[in-house]
């Protein structure tokens, strides 16, 4: 009887602390774990008793890479509870700040975290010695994303300018116009990113995922839309809790999310792309086609190409919003708290980010629930690990371990975000 164990105690090039654990008995994968051991942070608990208008800034602290996603899910959930709708210019500015976050987050992952896997380097520093132009391009792209977030959010990381009802300060048209040339550069760099990533070698590997993403009537999704899947899910965000559940597994401090009826599902770039290809716009669609992608991509290793395509989209969308920008009359609309619950999903770079809050009549948070994309992808990541390891058992340990690490990084897992680990089934109590 043969037994084989592969273990990476500290995964590199992911955000946060996790390990990989694969066991093979007699030619069969018997265990494929993404073990998340980062301590839980109890954000839902510390939100209780805080005012509604603190939610965007408290939850932004969950992640240094996708704070805008947390702020957007928070403000939309609060506004859902209080029946607030923001006027079109503010709605567009929210899409615009999200473009900045997608650009910086996707550029970071494509170039600094994921590309070294494909090119055979330990890290981005090694890769920079051999391919300085590639890394420079990634850093330049990320910088322009940061500049967009800094302009709208007040600073690059953990922006401070987002509030329930709108923003504290809105940019002058001249400030936005000044970024247009930079964004055109970013778009060109993003197009080169798609061709660069399309030229990498991909394992021959496809899975039949249930993809879940927001779907909006006319737009590639950031903040609005219904939650849909390629297997018939089509629900308003308010019904999230009826269709999704979270389980604790012993090897993870992050809860595993599942569709109640069908189990594991995937969120993130591949899901958004498959469910919203028609809304990507001609430039990004053309880039995708030129990269050899169809309207659906089931090879998770090609997520690096899809991130590039989404980066093209984000640059184009940002340019479109800037070109038509007319400042709103007020930076924010008035908000009056009522006793109610509010729900929101937005599309973080890594996928759907769900927030739910219950408020009392003074707008104090009575309970909160946050489901980040990485906890939703955990079961799918493990299914991928099982399949990819099973298909490559002929590889020596070192190569097989590397391939499995790469398979985890396909999802750009943000482990720190994922560790909430707090059961809060108090809705309706």
């Amino acid at each position: 009887m043969s037994k084989r164990s592969l273990r990476v105690a500290y995964l590199a090039r992911v955000e946060g602390e996790g390990a990989l654990d694969i066991q093979v008995h007699d030619g069969r994968v018997t265990k494929a774990h993404l073990s998340i051991f980062e301590p839980p942070r109890f954000f839902e608990a510390l939100l209780r008793g805080r005012r509604y208008d603190e939610a965007p800034d408290i939850t932004a602290r969950i992640c240094g890479i996708c704070p805008v996603a947390y702020q957007m899910s928070a403000v939309h959930a609060v506004e859902d509870a209080f029946g607030v709708a923001v006027p079109e210019p503010l709605r567009l500015l929210r899409r615009l700040i999200y473009c900045g976050e997608w650009i910086e987050s996707h550029a970071l992952h494509i170039y600094m975290l994921h590309a070294p896997d494909f090119l055979g380097f330990e890290d981005a520093i090694q890769m920079a010695r051999a391919h300085p132009d590639v890394v420079q391009q990634g850093l330049e792209l990320k910088k322009i994303g940061n500049e967009l977030v800094a302009l709208l959010g007040g600073r690059e990381i953990h922006p401070v300018n987002v509030k329930v009802g709108g923003f504290y300060r809105i940019p002058a048209p001249s400030e936005l116009a000044a970024l247009a040339d930079r964004l055109k550069r970013a778009r060109d760099a993003a197009l080169r990113t798609v061709s660069f990533s399309a030229g990498l070698d991909f394992p021959d590997f496809e899975q039949d995922y249930e993809f879940v993403a927001l779907r909006h009537a006319t737009e590639y999704p950031f903040n609005e839309g219904r939650l849909v899947s390629n297997r018939g899910l089509d629900i308003p965000v308010r019904e999230y809790n009826r269709h999704f559940e979270e389980d604790h597994v012993a090897h993870s401090t992050a809860l595993h999310a599942r569709l109640s009826e069908r189990g594991a599902y995937a969120v993130g770039p591949l899901a958004r792309y498959a469910l919203n290809f028609d809304h990507l716009g001609p430039t990004a669609q053309e880039a995708a086609r030129a990269a050899g992608l169809g309207p659906v991509c089931r090879n998770p290793f090609k997520s690096i190409v899809v991130r590039g395509v989404e980066t093209v989209f984000a640059c184009e969308e940002a340019l479109r919003i800037i070109e038509h920008y007319e400042p709103p009359s007020d930076a924010a609309v008035h908000v009056k708290p009522i006793a109610a619950s509010g729900y929101a999903c937005t599309e973080a770079p890594r996928g759907v980010l769900y927030h739910r809050y219950r408020f009392d009549g003074q707008g104090i948070i009575r309970d909160a629930r946050i489901v980040p994309p990485t906890s939703q992808n955990q079961a799918t990541i493990e299914a991928d690990l099982r399949a990819i390891a099973g298909a490559h058992l002929n590889l020596p340990d070192l190569q097989l371990t590397r391939l499995c690490e790469q398979a985890i990084r396909n999802y750009d897992p943000c482990i720190s975000c994922s560790v909430h680990f707090l059961r809060l089934n108090v809705e309706g109590v």
């Binding site: 890290d123 890394v135 990320k142």
Partner: protein, 166 residues
């Protein structure tokens, strides 16, 4: 990194790395703050936490860059380490990465080296810390070292007519 306002790149840039809310980790920020208060001079100052990508931007434009960070090598608290970083990598244990959530100073310097984006002169000061507890200020030994490092940087690198001892 927070950058002080200035239209033109100066001759000297001081980067104070760290978190002032975490005890001795704030040593670098404190050195930059004292130097800036003692100005005016042909220098600008950046302070705060650092990630490797933003460090590349912070290196751009200045002829001489001085980075001050807290160190954690096992030496007695308040020990001052000094390195010129354009010629060789820093000792790996000195300013070791303390976070799995982002790449820091060491990675940033090596990334800049790989991309040929190091400044012409790059001096790294490490101040050995001992207490990195939340909500604290620098310990006594580290405060004394902060004074000494600020004085040395001013005397050696920022006054007119100083020479590079290399």
């Amino acid at each position: 990194v927070n950058r002080s306002d200035r239209a033109v790149a100066p001759r000297v840039r001081v980067i104070g790395v760290g978190n002032s809310l975490r005890g001795d980790d704030g040593a670098g920020v404190e050195v930059a703050r004292r130097l800036e208060e003692a100005g005016p001079d042909d220098a600008d100052y950046l302070t705060g936490p650092v990630d490797s990508a933003s460090l590349l931007g912070a290196f751009a434009g200045a002829a001489r860059v001085i980075v001050v960070d807290a160190a954690c090598s096992g030496a007695p608290p308040g020990t001052i380490h000094r390195f010129e970083a354009t010629r060789a990598p820093l000792p790996p244990r000195l300013l070791r990465e303390t976070s799995t959530h982002g790449a820091g100073l060491q990675a940033g310097i090596e990334l800049a080296r790989a991309l040929d984006r190091l400044p012409p002169e790059l001096w790294i000061y490490g101040i050995e810390g001992s207490d990195f507890g939340p909500g604290k200020s620098c310990s006594h030994a580290v405060s004394l070292a902060v004074d000494r490092v600020a004085q040395e940087i001013r005397r050696r690198w920022m006054l007119p007519g100083e020479t590079d001892p290399r």
